[in-house]
Subunit: 200 residues, 2 copies
DNA sequence: GGACGAAGTGGAACGTGTTCCTATTATGAC
DNA sequence: GTCATAATAGGAACACGTTCCACTTCGTCC
């Protein structure tokens, strides 16, 4: 696995380059949606995005970087969607469960895509730290906002709870994408965890 | 990924076969300890175990099956070690933290081995369900025993809590083996989670 | 002890992630 | 406009997981 970083939008000077990057990510999504992790083959991505294989590797130094970057931009969309509208629910747990279920349902609507992104996330090593960190921050921010809408001075416990919920969510997702549990079990397990952590 | 199962000890008739299986797992451990996931190369395992590549694949239908089987037998050892001696600690949380820290320290003493086993576990798909299930049961049993030594009529909450702790442990482990968090952070995060879940 | 099927050997071959090299094209300084 | 440099194209080559095949050995039943 390479130690270089993926090229972000900000790294790219010209419009042509930003367009190449977008074509690559679009091709990745499409292949992932159709056939999951295994279908995202680097030659296929390059072909579909109409870039050379070497160029693909210049933009994303490995398949894992590529998929985790795709995951990160998916999360950016999700986080942005929650940021504006208030989250329904009277208690922390209701709001957190709302966010989890909504996000999870979104993912479960695209099982192959989710499988591809989750597998990549779990397989990522330290060289993907930047991309992983983005995802972690976004998830944590979504959860703490759901717990305490508008609150900025979060306690250590708030952050710890969000992190535990994030862990459970990830484990549940892995169990689901790898066919070890059903969507319903995933949901029930997450609700259980939230109930145990946020007793309000 | 193949859909067949790994051959367990019970599946194997002759002593020569059990010996082959053991040689394969020993070779796997040795390579994993030296160089982690990437160093466990199927040709290298076959060479070191002195079996043909085809035989290796007969015993373990993929690299993932092989490594998750190795993980399962590691957990069997750990679980057996806890089963006999009483677990020190006056409260549930103390005992659970003891078990987690002890197990984690054991794993952290062999970073490459742990990396190999954890990566495999996280990458496993439904075809590895049997092996995964063994690991899950052993982990859950260790945790519930630590929470309530000797108790047999566990409540749903007991089981749910054990599962959440297991999830956190796994996420922490993944973060550690992929170099995203230090051993100390891993420990602190697990303690936090236990404290939030078991308030006694 | 001979026959037969299962298990094992040795190794070629294939697919896909990754690397690398050369030729060509775009970009920017002057 | 010209040139130097970087970026891209196109594709060969390599590594390792996996599959497959022809052959040999082992265990078992008669």
């Amino acid at each position: 696995m390479s130690s270089a970083n993926s090229l972000t939008v900000d790294d790219l000077g010209s419009a042509a380059q930003r367009d190449r990057r977008k074509r690559i990510l679009d091709a990745t999504y499409e292949l992932a949606r159709e056939g999951g992790f295994d279908a995202v083959q680097m030659r296929a991505v390059a072909d579909k995005a109409e870039v050379a294989l070497g160029t693909l590797y210049r933009y994303f130094p490995s398949k894992i970087h590529l998929l985790v970057s795709a995951l990160a931009s998916e999360f950016e969309r999700a986080e942005a969607a929650f940021r504006d509208k208030p989250i329904p629910g009277d208690t922390s747990s209701e709001r957190v469960i709302f966010v989890l279920k909504k996000t999870t349902r979104g993912l479960q609507g695209d099982p192959h895509l989710t499988e591809a992104l989750t597998r990549a996330f779990m397989f990522a090593d330290a060289s993907v730290a930047n991309e992983i960190h983005s995802v972690g921050m976004l998830l944590s921010s979504m959860l703490t906002q759901a717990m305490h809408p508008g609150k900025t001075d979060l306690t250590d416990d708030d952050v710890a709870i969000a992190r535990v919920i994030g862990d459970v969510w990830l484990s549940a997702l892995v169990a689901w994408v790898t066919g070890r549990s059903t969507a319903a079990e995933t949901g029930a397990h997450m609700e259980n965890a939230v109930r145990l952590l946020l007793r309000d």
